[in-house]
Symmetry: C2
Subunit: 347 residues, 2 copies
DNA sequence: CTGTTAGCGCTTTCAT
DNA sequence: ATGAAAGCGCTAACAG
């Protein structure tokens, strides 16, 4: 249509220089006239490049949060199966700084074309981000954004809003003047997960806005010492029988739910994050009232897709990508099935 | 790999008979060995067939429910732009039986290869479904299933569960012993929308299970006479000042919200269906507490995808496809954006 | 019953 | 700076 050969059109499409301005203009005109959009699946079959994409994220067991992200990533690789993508996972123990360092070092050693990062420890992540930047390796975050770094994009929920919504929900389903507990899972040293810090800020912000901060108690428990927790939680409830609502900012809601089950407590409302298998179970049992879900699969899927699009077409997407904040409860759980839906935001 | 030509492989893939058992077996073996999955986008470019798909659904204005379904359908057509799909819409007025009949008659006249139906009037839909069946034209439903017909598939929420969840939510956020109103929008004659009947059953079922049926009042209002409603609602609230929660089973929650706004009522909780623009607005204003959303875009998208896959590959999916029931409230509304997500359940 | 051929949209290589 | 040709996975038409 533009009176040039397909080769020239391709050169224009990919900005591979050495095309006369005249040809460029002619082609651009036709392109917009026919509303041209490249079809990545067709590109794929003739693309000769190979891509190595490395994913650094916490190791997780079946039914846990990071497993969802992982399967979203693999789904995207599968969708682009005509592109030669090698996807390597560098897992780390999310409760061990050392293992995180080792994993991140591995990422660099693998000399990837692009990286997906599931951050936990902020400082370590900044170090990695800077090294990637120095090597001109694009990267995206899933689960949370680390400020002070420059990823290609990030896919997470707005964690502040998540905490805020948790506060709104727990106060909506409990009588006025109730008292609340914020249970916090603590990890190594004082290092809180990036996500928890932000959720907490949102949560407290709601209570401050409504002049109810004085009705929130805070209790820390360790994920690594389940036995101590039993005692800790037990003592807490005995000493504070007036508590009507509990919020666990991370996915450990089932720990409290199990305590409820064991001690036949059913008048206390409970809300937590992440639709893990254990939480799902306790929702069905009626011990967890609401779970906020951040679509981990969708996050992983989008992250991989964005990278592939960037590597193949240089397509840049907006950096900030907040996922929906899903509210899951006993009555809509069965229809949620994040597994079966995968999302294509950037056609 | 199987020692046969691509032509033969293609014949096996599409069951276009006349292939020796020996070849079939050899090919089947290789296919499973390499975990072969056809790539529909690659098929598309060499496919010579043309498809005419007709959509019969209520006409809707910008920001209303059926507009979402429509855009999901168009998105799927766009995703398969290499396939020659002609998509025609036969709209009808969802409050007029006559217009529905005319629209459905049109569908048949157009002699489509497949049909997407957004049903409202049950009996008319059954007539259409039977005629399509007689002509061997496959069809799928969106929004709701019509029992007694045999679609290829349907995509809707579980409407009973939706009503049930509405009941659960409204009772969770109001004090014990509150009284409730179920507002019902009435259409021509006694003809209630298919969807409303099922939601109502779910709603009442929750109240019956909890022995609270006596605390539910029921009020009907007409969508077509907004002026009378103002008076009707007004009288109702004056005579029943003890009401603490209101549920509108369809998308007309904003009608009540507007009444609240005008009369400065803010102690009554309100829940309705469908994230239309007007409802969105009233969520932000704080007059609607929760909206249940059924992902109309996703429904349309899936419906079209399933038909295309069926027409091109004969792929059959399971008939019953329940979409997630999303709970939307002021704090997660901004991140919901169904528009930007489109779903691919049947990779 | 099967192989051959051409061609879809796209990219790359090589020659000019 | 450009075109021609080959080839990716896939389907269709034709010849045997």
């Amino acid at each position: 249509m533009a009176g040039v050969s397909p080769g020239t059109v391709d050169r224009v499409l990919h900005n591979r220089g050495d095309v006369s301005q005249a040809s460029k203009d002619a082609i651009a005109l036709v392109l917009s006239k026919v509303n041209y959009h490249p079809n990545i699946h067709l590109s794929a079959i003739s693309l000769k490049k190979k891509f190595k994409i490395v994913v650094a994220m916490p190791k997780s067991y079946k039914g846990e949060y990071w497993g969802g992200a992982r399967s979203g990533i693999l789904k995207a690789v599968e969708e682009y199966r005509n592109i030669d993508i090698t996807c390597k996972f560098c897992y780390y123990n999310q409760f061990s700084l050392d293992s995180c360092r080792t994993s991140f070092e591995n990422v660099i050693q693998l000399n990837p074309d692009a990286v997906i990062i599931g951050p936990t420890f902020k400082d370590e992540t900044i170090v990695l981000a800077n090294r990637l930047k120095d090597n001109n390796i694009p990267f995206v975050y899933i689960d949370s954004m680390v400020e002070g770094t420059a990823p290609l994009a990030f896919f997470s929920t707005n964690l502040f809003s998540c905490g805020y919504l948790m506060a709104k929900l727990i106060t909506s389903i409990t009588p006025p003047d109730s008292e609340y507990v914020l249970f916090q899972a603590i990890r190594v040293g004082d290092e809180s997960a990036n996500t928890t810090i932000l959720r907490k800020a949102g949560f407290m912000s709601y209570f401050e806005e409504h002049q109810m901060s004085d009705r929130v108690h805070r209790v820390s428990f360790s994920v690594l010492e389940p036995d101590r927790n039993e005692t800790l939680i037990g003592e807490y409830f005995e000493n504070n029988p007036t508590i009507r609502g509990i919020v666990v900012l991370n996915s450990r809601g089932y720990v409290i739910a199990n305590y409820f089950k064991k001690h036949h407590i059913d008048r206390v409302k409970l809300i937590c994050s992440d639709l893990t298998e254990k939480n799902e179970h306790e929702i069905k049992n009626g011990f967890i009232d609401f779970v906020l879900c951040q679509r981990p699969e969708m996050q992983g899927f989008c992250a991989m897709k964005v990278l592939v699009q960037y590597l193949t077409f240089g397509t840049v997407v907006k950096m900030e990508n907040f996922m929906p904040l899903d509210i899951i409860t006993r009555e809509n759980l069965d229809y949620y099935n994040e597994t079966s839906d995968t999302v294509v935001p950037f056609s």
